[in-house]
């Protein structure tokens, strides 16, 4: 029978729509404004006592709350608030009551019911332009990192030649290469062998000058890329750690392109505070562990940083051997016995200081201190009697490790005797975080106030509604019953679009909403193609059933071609674009795919249900052909 779908096709359409409705449903539940409480360090547990303190503070300030819970892992607690504008004052009173050591962050708590959440249904994430917050783009100065490494190579080469007693003049040329000048060719050949051994990753180039023999050592492209890669990933790790400290509920720290890092902090308004923490510098100090008989004025006591050794302390000498600026790299690896270790390389100055300090102190221990700038909050009253929050900086120094010095150390040495590869990689990470990383600068910064975010959502939703109604009105007037089918299919398309976005975990932005609006406009195109084809076939004298059949069949190839090319453009937009453009591209591509399903299969199912399998004299499709 013409224009009858087999039962399974109807069921398939129904099933897909039901699935779509299910996964789109969480977006209907507006999230609650909430406060999230976490500990400053990962070891801190949030217990009932902490929560009670916070709740008392809220009670006192007259802020209504409900549904307070402590997360199962005991790392954080969530307090939901009745009113959104109570979030900021709530944050202030709670962080005051809890004091330093706790982070109180603004959060939007999901209200997705359990029966949806159990099957992984989640609402769409909102982009910064809709939720309000700060967006930073940072650039890592990769050239500076390469430059610094090249300087180290000059020093390493100088020392290697000196140790091998090869006379020559080593300097850095304008291109940043290591340049060695030698009186004879024989000397140069010897030097070449020495350099090739001391720095095998360098590319050597011999040039014969006027009465002198030159050698140039440059970094290979691979080495350069490795250094750049390393500098960026190191900054990425450091930034992630620092962002966690900011206490933002869903921060994003993401690499973008060659040397950029994007940081997005929803809910944050105070960019100065955010920048201070992101741009903060950590440092290292290497000091000898004090002898037991050292005078009290010559030693200091430090705690270990690792939670495993919480409470254990060591006495270190007050004299600092070197600081983190001298550390070039630290890498976790294994020694010849397969034991985990950390390789550290210092610059030449650092190597000199290190060897001077260690050669007479073999078998003593050396402590490595990790120094972080932290802030204590104080509340003061200014002249006008207003309470102001004052952040007082202080340096927190904690001990990373205190290994025994086995031999006189130089610019390159190892820390061995580590328990596990995990420990060695953590130590290397901390050493690198403390070492001066490649400098970073802010190249882009966007702050969206919460009121603008809310307004953007309101405007976006309004334009979708108005756009959809206008199109619906037009379609029903122009195509009658068929228009109605198209409108139903279009609404289903919106539901599917939202559900796919939710399942993919895509972020909805304002351009994303524009993409949805555009999809609404373009999705009807498929139906328009089909319907005008049906009208044409009717005009050609086909029976209504034949016309429906032919109209759908003929139009599908055209729809496919037209949509596929648009999809190509959307994918390019996604690949090349950043930020807002990406958001637009995502909704556009998802919309194209879902609209093909609803406009072709969905509309067909509806039309078949209405007209299929019975005698039809005329079709309510409007236009001259139907008359």
């Amino acid at each position: 029978m013409l224009n009858k779908y087999p039962l399974w096709k109807y069921l398939l359409v129904l099933f897909v729509l039901a699935l779509g409705a299910f996964y789109a449903a969480p977006n209907l539940y507006a999230p609650d404004p909430a406060l999230q409480i976490t500990g400053q360090s990962s070891a801190q547990v949030i217990d009932q006592r902490t929560l009670d303190l916070a709740l008392d503070a809220l009670d006192e300030a007259g802020i209504a709350y409900f549904g307070e819970t402590i997360q199962d892992d005991g790392r954080s607690a969530l307090v939901r608030l009745r009113a959104a504008d109570a979030q900021l004052p709530g944050q202030a009173v709670v962080s005051r009551a809890l004091g330093d050591g706790f982070i109180v962050a603004l959060n939007l708590a999901q209200t997705t019911p359990d029966w949806l959440g159990d099957y992984g249904a989640q609402p769409m994430k909102l982009g910064l332009d809709l939720s309000g917050g700060v967006h930073f783009k940072l650039e890592v100065d990769v050239d500076a990192a390469i430059e610094r490494r090249m300087e180290t190579y000059v020093n390493i080469t100088k020392r290697a030649l000196r140790e091998a007693r090869i006379r020559g003049f080593v300097s850095q040329d304008e291109a940043g290469r290591v340049e060695g000048r030698f009186r004879t060719e024989e000397l140069r050949e010897q030097a070449r062998a020495v350099i090739a051994e001391s720095s095998p990753e360098l590319v050597l180039d011999r040039v014969d000058g006027d009465g002198e023999w030159l050698i140039y050592a440059a970094m290979s492209e691979v080495t350069r890329r490795e250094i750049a890669e390393h500098a960026v990933s190191q900054n990425l790790t450091t930034l992630r750690n620092r962002v966690n400290e900011l206490g933002v509920s869903e921060p994003l720290v993401q690499r973008q392109g060659q040397n950029r890092i994007v940081v997005e902090l929803p809910g944050i308004q105070d960019t100065a505070e955010a920048k201070r923490i992101l741009g903060k510098v950590a440092n290292l100090e290497f000091r000898l562990v004090a002898r037991a008989d050292a005078a009290a004025s010559e030693k200091q006591r430090f705690e270990y940083r690792s939670p495993d050794r919480a409470g254990v302390t060591e006495w270190l000498e007050r004299d600092v051997i070197i600081t983190g600026e001298r550390v070039q790299t630290a890498q976790a690896s294994f020694d010849q016995n397969g034991q985990p270790n950390v390789n550290i390389s210092l610059d030449s100055e650092g190597g000199l200081l290190m060897s001077r300090a260690t050669r007479d102190n073999i078998k003593r221990r050396m402590g490595v201190l990790f120094i972080e700038r932290k802030y204590r909050t104080r509340y003061e009253t200014d002249e006008q009697g207003n309470e102001v929050v004052v952040k007082v900086p202080y340096d927190e120094k904690k001990l990373l490790t205190a290994p025994v010095i086995q031999s006189a150390l130089g610019a390159q040495f190892q820390i061995t005797g580590l328990d596990s590869p995990l420990e060695s990689s953590e130590l290397a990470l901390m050493l690198r975080a403390g070492a001066l990383a490649a400098p970073i600068s802010f190249v882009e910064e966007r702050t969206v106030g919460p009121s603008l975010g809310a307004e953007n959502i309101r405007l976006g939703v309004k334009s979708v509604q108005i756009g959809l109604s206008l199109v619906a009105l037009f379609m029903v007037i122009y195509y009658r019953v068929f228009g109605l089918c198209a409108v139903i299919a279009l609404s289903c398309n919106l539901v599917l679009l939202v559900s796919v976005m939710s399942i993919l975990g895509a972020t909805l932005t304002l351009p994303g909403i524009a993409g949805i609006v555009l999809t609404v406009g373009m999705a009807v195109d498929a139906n328009v193609l089909i319907f005008s084809r049906i009208r044409e076939e009717l005009g050609n004298g086909l029976s209504p059933q034949m016309a429906i059949h032919a109209g759908f069949e003929r139009a599908v190839a055209t729809i496919f071609d037209a949509n596929l090319t648009t999809l190509i453009v959307a994918v390019i937009l996604y690949a090349v674009g950043t930020g807002p453009v990406k958001g637009f591209a995502v909704t556009l591509s998802v919309g194209i795919v879902t609209s093909m399903f609803t406009a072709i299969m969905g509309t067909r199912a509806l039309v078949n249900l209405i007209y299929g399998g019975r005698r039809v004299k005329s079709l309510a499709i409007g236009g001259r052909a139907a008359a």
Binding site: M522, A562, I568
Partner: protein, 304 residues
């Protein structure tokens, strides 16, 4: 249905297109585009006043505060103010400027957004945008050449270049700000205009195979007439939603909606006159579209 003699006026259309193109390219060459913050770099601060904002007073406050070259305009309503600083101010300047405004006006100032874009980013963006556009054109051409025929690919790309240039020209002549969302809109125009062109080309191909005796000009006229209804309806529905977006979507998305509206209008025209015109100019004939006879079975017959 009577066939409309579209191609009878193709010389006129060509002149019209040429005039538009000359105007656009001329304006682009002399006046260039009013590049938005995304491309130029600099700082932008949008604030909301609880009362009608006095732009003159704000300008004075800023001048007294040492912000030279600050542009102060109202944004959408007379309470919303947009302040743009040229490049050269540091990334911390936006927050300080806000503080200055708060001090001079009191609690009635509310931050809507601050944007800072460093100089490195803008240049890159322009390069990337251009690259994306070329890439889109190239891939699309390849796909059409593969699905249809090379002459159709050229026709489609000529139409696309035509649409993009004229939309750009519109932005140049009106001096409307060209920001990242407008760039996205421009790429969407490529997608949209293409959609239209393909629907027409699809019909042209079908009719070349079906109407074996007809002259190319006649075939194209018939195809355009047959698809005219669909072309107009789709453009109309798209323009309806874009209109809703332009009117109700707020200032930030306004440029995007306008760019797309211009693009859709030009795209509709170009799918009728430019792409088909290019096809005729290249001397398209039914030989171009005959399905090559495959070896053995599996030969398809598309004509009913």
């Amino acid at each position: 249905m009577n066939t409309i003699n579209f191609m009878g006026r193709r010389k006129l259309a060509m002149l019209f297109s040429l005039a538009l193109l000359v105007l656009s390219v001329g304006s682009l060459a002399t006046k260039q585009l009013n590049w938005g913050l995304d491309f130029t770099g600099g700082t932008l601060v949008e604030v909301h006043y609880s009362d009608t904002a006095d732009l003159g007073a704000i300008r004075q406050t800023l001048a007294a505060g040492g912000y030279e070259g600050a542009i102060v305009v109202s944004f959408g309503s007379d309470r919303d103010v947009l302040i743009r600083l040229p490049q050269g101010y540091s990334d911390a300047e936006g927050a300080q400027l806000l503080q200055l405004l708060e001090e001079s006006y009191g609690a009635g100032v509310e931050l809507r957004r601050i944007e800072f874009v460093g100089p490195q980013v803008g240049d890159e963006l322009r390069e990337q945008g251009g690259l994306a556009m070329l890439l889109a054109l190239g891939l699309v051409m390849l796909y059409i050449a593969f699905r249809f025929q090379f002459k159709f690919a050229v026709g489609a790309v000529v139409a696309l270049v035509h649409d993009v240039l004229i939309t750009l020209g519109f932005f140049s002549i009106t001096g409307a700000e060209f920001d990242l969302t407008v760039l996205a809109a421009l790429l969407a125009v490529i997608g949209y205009s293409l959609n239209d062109t393909i629907v027409v080309s699809d019909r042209v191909r079908e009719n070349f195979r079906k109407l074996r005796r007809a002259e190319p000009l006649e075939v194209i006229n018939i195809s355009l007439t047959e698809t005219l209804g669909r072309t107009l309806v789709t453009s109309l529905t798209t323009l309806l939603v874009l209109g809703a977006l332009a009117v109700f979507g707020g200032e930030i998305i306004h440029g995007f909606a306008v760019a797309l509206m211009v693009g859709v209008a030009v795209g509709t025209y170009s799918s009728i006159y430019v792409a088909a015109n290019a096809l005729l100019a290249m001397g398209v004939s039914k030989e171009d579209l005959m399905i090559p006879v495959k070896e053995g079975a599996g030969q398809e017959d598309l004509s009913p």
